[in-house]
Chain length 424, copies 3
């Protein structure tokens, strides 16, 4: 018989009639199971956080996914049908026909809208009923019937939806890094989660989002634990700081490079779901050429959609390489255990992480700032206000992003704003 | 950047400090999620609708499915074990042995009943315990133990069960169209849902049932949307009317044929789950040669079982052909979207359709009549009465069906009662 | 038309206006759906039965399963991570890192413990935090952080865990049959459920456990129903009795053998999850050479882990042979129906058997005794006492088992204590 008695437990039991004192040796017995903060994670209509999210435009699909064949999409916990009518208009509607409730997924897309397969009611992209063929005069009162719908916007190959109240619909925001495209440039969309992983993660969006303000995990997870997933310069231990802005939070990491310069890396989060993470492979220097949106499919599922500007003759992004040159999908179970990345650690926090059992430390200050600001905005909307970052002015200028991998001389605070691809 | 702004949404937001009025443009934000009417859809014991259903005989399996090997069946939300003992008697019993609760699915069928595999208690088809081999004298008190059971009837190759109270058990009803079989005729059973689809549909039975009183969907769904699934004469726009009877509802569709005759098509629903739909391929004219039962497996699953009388040298039914000559099972996902049928539209209403969000129109009058009558019968049973269509008189004559595809001269109201197969 | 009317149902309905009396013919209509006794079946922390179970050591894995690669295990409804650090110490910890909650399943096992992949916190097998690399001075206060953990013991190739309160941790018990191993003997572990079946059963542990005090099922299930699954001598009808002990229950079965001797078979249950069932194939005579533990994975899943002592040149156990020489895994669905065994009857009682609908008979006395004693111990713990069979004395001698297949002369009550393998 071999015995391996864990420290603090061996022979520590009481004897006979003499019960021991209550021992607190941190064992799991009696621990709290924990809970999450609903203000951070809920996405449904009617919840405070869900109502904050509903005051912004969110990506719902690629432009190429809106066609003459109806497509099922899901956003903020709502199942919807996406289509593009014969006139090129994109429709995003409630699946259940407002007449007898069958799904418009089997509907027929026509020049002016989508026709229910059951009794033929035809709806325009704004839900207005245009035809009721089984009713007298094809529906004398048809205009008073309206299929529930949401407004959409197409922008650089992505369809965005606004799922909030009609009277608080903001203008659609644009971003400076995509506004001055040159002829030899293009914008592409990447929808893989965490640099090369699956397109969808089975966990709440917020725990994937706050990771962008957690620069410390880069040199633990992506270097020390899993080898060199990113550029070797990111292994240099940096000076880290965070900055709170009215519109979000930035993190700066300053690394002294061997050549005497400083790598000034800035990552950026904007309320509610935007992040700009300059490519960690350092194949692009200067101002970020990409930004992305966390897409809360529902409380338990998340997509990330990145919009990338690049020269037409360049690949959009160098992907991290895992052990033995394998991609995320080529790793087996043991490979994922030995070489975890963002997907494993974020999904590994559970379907919704339990904030009440966390023990945040000084390195988690950025995460705390992101949560604090989000909860502030939740409260503003709950009390009837408009949240930060929405504008009702059609003349609103494009948003200017801060993120980038800036290589500068020590003390130089004038950041180059042009991105550039680096030969490798 | 391209933009496709849905009508009514473009630039409609408020500006600056001047919030807009509450806009009602029918968008999905704030819509009700809806609910169903439990009086129409519930099937469990103890629910008002479930108790109405339990006052009738329901098909539970084919005769060929009751054998010496126990079989799992499910009806009205109850899991049961079906078997046929060595004497040819059909048993339908609770799966859990009344002794220690193991399942009789692993029981051994013997001459006189089914024997539990665990401790050998033997039960006759009426649940009476005939043997307790581990007890003194093989169970001195064994006759006082009874395995919960239900009475069954075999009729034309189908086993029917009565799952209601013993003192309200009606006589088993017969139907005129099966009573005078000629030597060259036979009765066959079809169990595919919606003319050639799967045998089971993942939705509530009522939404599949009321469709039989919805003649309008025939020339939208089965003609305009999905091509010509049925006989081309059904594309002629008919005069439609509905008739309320004490025992059910009929729908009549009169179509003026090119040869001057009238196609007088009658479909029929009988409380609670019977429908007679003359074959829509018009390969049989005159009185219907088939009737069917919706089988509520539980609140979320439905089978349909059709009983068909026919000449022995004829196929039971011409099945609809979908696009490119494909059967339902040969269609791919896009094929089902482009050529939907009854399965897609009825299952597409969801596991249980949400009555509260419907907007019924004049073409839905038959559906309303069916619902109204069903709810009346639910109330009658709930207040202690006997519902329509049950009889306690062993001499009760067979039920006479009305349904048919009657080709008649204009004004001729004497309907031919003989069915005939049509050469094609 | 053929009719098969079950007895007692035919034509028994009321007629016309004259409703019948309430008929009680045992039919399933109106039966209770039943419930279980939570005191027997619950396993979670905080439930009375779960707290009794947490006062004992339970097998959680094989020694060979604790390696440098973290492994997921589940016991008493709790998900845990098992590993063996570089020093050979076994760790059993809460999966969620106490820092930011990602799972240690993706952690890196090091010489002194397991390191979280996300921010690098390192935990010893007793949960003490040894390193916080992203904090100043690698965590000035790191010793105050502790990952929730459980103590473990290795014994004969099995890892046992104690999941109860620290101040009531008993000494790890040993068993006499494993204490005096000879050089030509070894101890092996079997983890198949019910003699050759799957390693895990999808049902509550208690219904698999009490079966050990149910000797009657042996000659029904294992002989009469499913042929001769065990040794033919077990088909002889025995004299059966049960004995209540402070620590458990034994069952004795005395069979008069053709040679004039008596086969005195004793099976044994010890609170809470131990059973000793001498091999029913009678390939081992004398005192049992094996004992086993029911392992309550959670309320709905059970493993059984058997520890077997044997000569090195012997197979651990002769497995029962099902029909046509097939193993459990080789039987098809009909084969399992026609030749059920322990797995089918115990899993066949449902995820958790419903005690309220049982009708126990005289042959179930052993089962009643086991339940009665378990509920007594549940009450003792609930009122603050220590349950039977736990000791806080490090000098506690090994437990002496009673079970065996003893072939003795009539009247001989001196049981041979040596096991012996039988040539066949």
């Amino acid at each position: 018989m071999t015995e391996s008695q864990a420290r603090g437990a061996g022979g520590s039991g009481p004897t006979g009639d003499q019960p021991a004192e209550r021992i607190d040796d941190g064992r799991a017995y009696g621990r709290s199971r924990g809970s999450w903060d609903p203000g951070l994670v809920e996405t449904s209509a009617g919840t405070p956080a869900g109502e904050l999210l509903r005051r912004y435009w969110h990506p719902v699909a690629l432009s190429s996914e809106a066609t003459g064949l109806p497509r099922r999409v899901r956003l903020l916990g709502e199942d919807l049908i996406l289509f593009r009518d014969g006139g090129g208009r994109v429709g995003l509607v409630e699946p259940r026909c407002c007449h007898r409730g069958t799904t418009l997924y089997y509907g027929r897309v026509e020049d002016d809208g989508i026709r229910c397969p059951y009794h033929g009611w035809l709806f325009a992209v704004d839900g207005v009923c245009l035809d009721q063929p089984c009713e007298p005069d094809r529906g004398r009162n048809r205009a008073s019937y309206r299929q529930p719908w949401y407004p959409v916007q197409e922008y650089n190959g992505v369809i965005f939806a606004y799922m909030g109240p009609a009277d608080r619909q903001p203008v659609f925001p644009r971003y400076d890094i995509f506004e001055d495209l040159r002829d030899d440039e293009e914008i592409v969309i990447l929808d893989h989660f965490a640099f090369g992983g699956p397109s969808e993660a089975p966990c709440n969006w917020f725990q994937t989002h706050e990771n962008a303000m957690d620069p410390y995990h880069v040199f633990i997870l992506h270097n020390a634990i899993s080898g060199h997933q990113f550029d070797p310069r990111l292994e240099i231990w940096p000076r880290i700081d965070w900055q709170r802005h009215p519109w979000g939070v930035t993190a700066s990491q300053d690394r002294d490079l061997p050549d005497g310069n400083v790598l000034h890396r800035v990552t950026e989060i904007r309320v509610p779901t935007i992040r700009a993470i300059p490519t960690p492979t350092l194949t692009v220097l200067g101002k970020t050429n990409n930004m992305s949106w966390a897409v809360p499919i529902d409380d338990y599922r998340t997509k990330v959609l990145a919009m990338v500007r690049k020269p037409k003759d360049r690949p959009p992004q160098a992907l991290p390489v895992y052990a033995e040159g394998k991609s995320w999908f080529e790793l087996d179970e043991e490979g994922h255990q030995r070489y975890p990345g963002d997907y494993e650690t974020q999904v590994g926090q559970g379907p919704i992480t339990l904030h009440s059992t966390e023990r945040l430390a000084s390195s988690d200050r950025g995460v705390s700032m992101v949560r604090h600001q989000f909860l502030e905005q939740v409260r503003i909307v709950a009390s009837g206000g408009d949240p930060v970052g929405v504008s009702f002015d059609p003349g609103e200028p494009p948003v200017s992003l801060r993120a980038g991998n800036y290589v500068v001389a020590p003390g130089d605070e004038s950041l180059a704003t042009e991105y550039s691809f680096v030969e490798q």
